[in-house]
Subunit: 241 residues, 2 copies
């Protein structure tokens, strides 16, 4: 059995929120797929297309987004290594969102045919895929709450908490900081704000001393108080432990 990097990332993700049996794990680990490098701002898939593959992030940082007719943009999710942004597209005819890299990244491309073969062999994997979709749904709901109910400063703090907790779960936190390689403009697209207002809000958060974001990195100086500031509760991420 030859273990692939893609299989490795996929297994890390799927076992993040549920027990994965030995045989299923072995099958997942041998997923072949194709490793692809994507450059910053390259689209991996586009709204309107028919999906032909699913994606696992191996390195870098992606976002899922839509561009509206008037040019404004809404970011729906950020994806860090081991995330599987489009597992669910296996079941859909036409994509309604786009996926792009926010920094040069490496992704695993898993053709739907291969995914289907894996599921045929190990039906439990279907459960895991469903569960992954469901957890992403919970995250969308939290983003909805965040952008609808929180003021700009609390919303930004809340988003920072999410990125930090998910990075920690993926083993990507170094001391008290993690990657968040986005511009303030992108942050604005995620939070439903303006670039200008994000700038001012970030300055305000900076002054609290709880958190900072610079040169594409997030520095959490006091997670507990930041979580309190944002009323952040990680339950919706459905992480184990």
């Amino acid at each position: 059995m030859s273990v692939s990097a893609i299989g490795c990332a996929l297994l890390a993700r799927l076992s993040g929120f549920g027990e994965v049996g030995k045989k299923d794990a072995d099958a997942i680990l041998t997923v072949r797929g194709e490793v692809r490098n994507v450059r910053r701002l390259d689209d991996i898939s586009r709204a309107g297309e028919a999906p032909k593959f699913s994606v696992v992030v191996l390195r870098g940082f992606l976002q899922r987004y839509v561009t509206r007719r008037d040019g404004s943009r809404q970011v729906h999710a950020f994806y860090i290594p081991t995330d599987a942004p489009s597992l669910e597209t296996l079941n859909v005819d036409c994509l309604d969102t786009s996926l792009c890299a926010l920094v040069n990244s490496t992704v695993g491309i898993i053709p739907h045919a291969e995914l289907k073969a894996l599921i045929r062999e190990r039906p439990n994997v279907l459960d895991l895929g469903w569960r992954e979709t469901l957890v992403q749904g919970a995250m969308f709901r939290e983003w909805l709450m965040r952008n609808s109910r929180l003021t700009a400063d609390a919303a930004m703090a809340h988003l920072f908490c999410e990125v930090f907790v998910r990075s920690r779960a993926a083993g990507l936190v170094d001391h008290n900081s993690c990657e968040l390689p986005v511009t303030q403009e992108t942050l604005a697209d995620a939070l439903g704000l303006t670039g200008v207002h994000v700038n001012r809000t970030l300055q305000a958060l900076r002054e609290t001393g709880l958190v900072d974001h610079k040169s594409g990195r997030l520095f959490i100086h006091d997670f507990k108080r930041l979580a309190g500031y944002a009323d952040f509760d990680p339950a919706y991420l459905h992480l184990r432990n």
Copy 2:
């Protein structure tokens, strides 16, 4: 074979966005479950609980929501007859949202044990459940965009379009109107606005002559122009035809 009302609704829902094979359909139709009447504002399940059953709406109107510590509320979705709000809870340990009725309603309660038996017998049903979860995810994303990017009037028009299109797909539209039995306060909880502002916004929409909402019913006088007003594109609902 004895066809149940619950099975009927479930099949209507699942076949709404994908072909369902004959044998699968037959199996779904015989789902037993339990028919339950719930009164207005009764919770069917609550955030924090461990889920034990899934739900199909047979009659009435439900919402999925969270209440925040400060008392504010975010509605994540409205559910009309044939919707299956919590199919996906089959795979989750702890609910992160609550489900309640907004008018006296009748729901089908399907114990997880029975659902699991159905899936064991007809594995394709798993696919359908996954797909249902995925479509709901697409809806959450659209709600996120709506509340983040649209002004109050466009957002309200957009929500009205969604309710109307989904009601039409479920065969619940009478001439040019459908049920939307919610107070302005509830509308505010869904749109991320204040009750007061919803009131004023609704008046503004009323004056356009495109749409009205009164005594729990939505009247669409000119769907096409309303959709234009809100830049509404139903693709995200993934309805067939």
